[in-house]
Symmetry: C2
Subunit: 110 residues, 2 copies
């Protein structure tokens, strides 16, 4: 169980700020993949892809299982949930304020 | 209308990866605030706070209205919506896969 404090959210948002890492996550949402499978469509080195995966793992967005010499990567949705909870919380506030403003305008009209 | 391509999402996620910037957004979700009002609870310089606001503005998370010598900041929820849409899209995929796996396990049991 990861505690979603400020530091964990920093790491998650930072990991998501790169288009290659978001593309990796979107493929892992369909299937678990080995590091070589993840690297296949890219022209970058296996080391560069591994570095991206390591950033995702540190942000708890991806877990890795060793199977002999192969590392299989899996999407861990809990960190994504923490991000969407954070956003929803403030969206609710904001939408609540918008509603209050609308109610206030309605009252002015009456 | 901001187009939420990869570059815009990079900027939004990157802006959100800092706890001070997230705290500023959470206060702007309650009220529009001037730059000095935003700076008030912090021990950092007004210039440092302005820099954070400028990062949020570049990511289209905050807009600024000039009123004489005062700049008033407002939360712009559209960029937050783009982030939550991105997350929801992959959560749906992932939850769909989890459901397929559960169905498969059920069939194995029968």
């Amino acid at each position: 169980m990861v505690e979603y404090n400020d530091k964990a959210l920093d790491a998650t948002f930072s990991a998501l700020s790169d288009p290659t890492r978001r593309a990796i996550l979107s493929r892992l949402a369909l299937n678990d993949l080995t590091v070589s499978e993840i690297a296949e469509p890219y022209e970058m080195s296996l080391a560069a892809v591994s570095k991206h995966i390591s950033v995702l793992a540190k942000a708890h967005l991806v877990s890795q299982q060793k199977e002999g010499r192969i590392r299989r990567c899996r999407l861990e949705p809990e960190a994504l949930n923490a991000v969407s909870n954070w956003i929803e919380h403030y969206q609710r506030f904001w939408q609540g304020n918008l509603q209050s403003l609308e109610n206030f305008m309605e009252k002015l009209k009456d």
